[in-house]
């Protein structure tokens, strides 16, 4: 059970350890099983912002067939999703909406920054209205570089999240694809 970390008076506030009902090896075992299952059925929230979204749609289509890994269930509601693929340029006007959608997703949730724009602003990084990387707004788990990345790269990025779920120690490792 996650507690509200925004509330300073709540127990567990400020500590990195999530407060759970069960602790110890049993909890770790249950979480490992759940993470294994999650890794095989990540449900992304439909969040295409620019041309990267075309590649994302292509990855979901028959040719690249994201569904063979179990990730094709793009949800129209963030409440049903556990992975946010930020595919495209995030503008200042869009940033609060992105944050709202992220906040609406249930824990555990993962963010994949797809393409140069989502990673650092891309070619628009000097613009007056473009967010310089989505990691300034929400925590990002996996970065998929490219402009835009090919569908294979996106699939590889989601598989990196799967690897991270199966082997939590990989969170500390920086992948080089």
């Amino acid at each position: 059970m996650e507690l509200n970390h925004n509330d300073p008076s709540a127990p567990g506030h400020g500590s990195k350890e999530p407060t759970t009902l069960i602790k110890g090896p049993l909890h770790d075992g249950i979480e490992a099983v759940l993470d294994f299952c999650r890794g095989n059925s990540l449900w992304p929230v439909t969040f295409g912002l620019a041309c990267c979204a075309i590649e994302m749609m292509s990855a979901g289509g028959a040719r690249y067939d994201l569904s063979r890994f179990g990730y094709e269930v793009f949800r129209p509601s963030p409440r049903q999703a556990d992975l946010m693929i930020v595919a495209g340029t995030v503008t200042d006007k869009m940033a609060p909406l992105l944050k709202t959608i992220y906040d609406q997703m249930p824990e555990p949730k993962y963010v994949l920054a797809m393409g140069g724009c989502a990673i650092c602003g891309g070619p628009f990084t000097d613009s007056y209205s473009v967010v310089q990387g989505v990691d300034t707004i929400v925590p990002v788990d996996v970065y998929v570089p490219g402009c835009p990345p090919r569908p294979e790269a996106l699939i590889d990025g989601i598989l990196k999240i799967r690897a991270m779920l199966r082997h939590p120690e990989l969170r500390e490792v920086r992948f080089n694809a």
Binding site: D92, K93, A95, K99, Y128, S129
Partner: protein, 172 residues
């Protein structure tokens, strides 16, 4: 295709220059109303260009007199009559220090968003219309970014604390 000279003949105060009708900005409402009265026209775009002094626009016909720095405001009107795909352009030139034009929302309601966009990016203040607000930029954005004198604000990589209401209230 309708002859632009014939259109200009029935309009009150318009001259044909460079394939477009040139009017005074203050007369936009009556001119556009007269165009609409001809039938078969639809306003589909309002654009604006910030022209620095002494640079006449490139023209196919040439011989366009130089004019001082100004905003060139253009209403682009689609001729939807049968067999036509033409676009009628109505231009006006506006002083830099009095960037103002009457709103044509009363004539064509589609002008609503278009005028708000021009206001947002170019800072042309359209008079006589409600809620002239920004469309593409955040409401607290300062300046009009497509103007030539726009100075790029210095940005931190991380957004200011006020970008998100919740962050401003001390959350996160």
């Amino acid at each position: 295709m309708r002859d632009i000279n014939k259109i200009a003949a029935v309009l009150p105060k318009a001259e044909v220059r460079d394939g477009a009708l040139v009017i005074q900005a203050s007369e936009a409402v009556e001119v556009l109303a007269a165009v609409k009265a001809l039938g078969g026209f639809a306003l589909f775009d309002i654009t604006c260009v910030d022209r620095p002094a002494g640079t006449p626009p490139a023209s196919a016909e040439g011989a366009v007199p130089a004019y001082p720095a100004c905003f060139e405001l253009a209403w682009r009107i689609w001729d939807l009559s049968e067999g036509s795909k033409d676009i009628l352009t109505i231009r006006s030139f506006i002083d830099h220090d009095r960037a103002e034009a009457p709103s044509v929302m009363a004539v064509w309601k589609s002008a609503d968003m278009l005028e708000r966009e021009v206001w947002d990016l170019m800072g042309i203040r359209f008079t006589g219309r409600p809620h002239l607000e920004r469309v593409l930029n955040r409401a607290d954005f300062e300046g009009h970014p497509l103007r030539k004198d726009f100075v790029m604000p210095k940005r931190d990589r991380f957004p200011p604390a006020s970008w998100d209401k919740k962050a401003a209230e001390g959350g996160q």
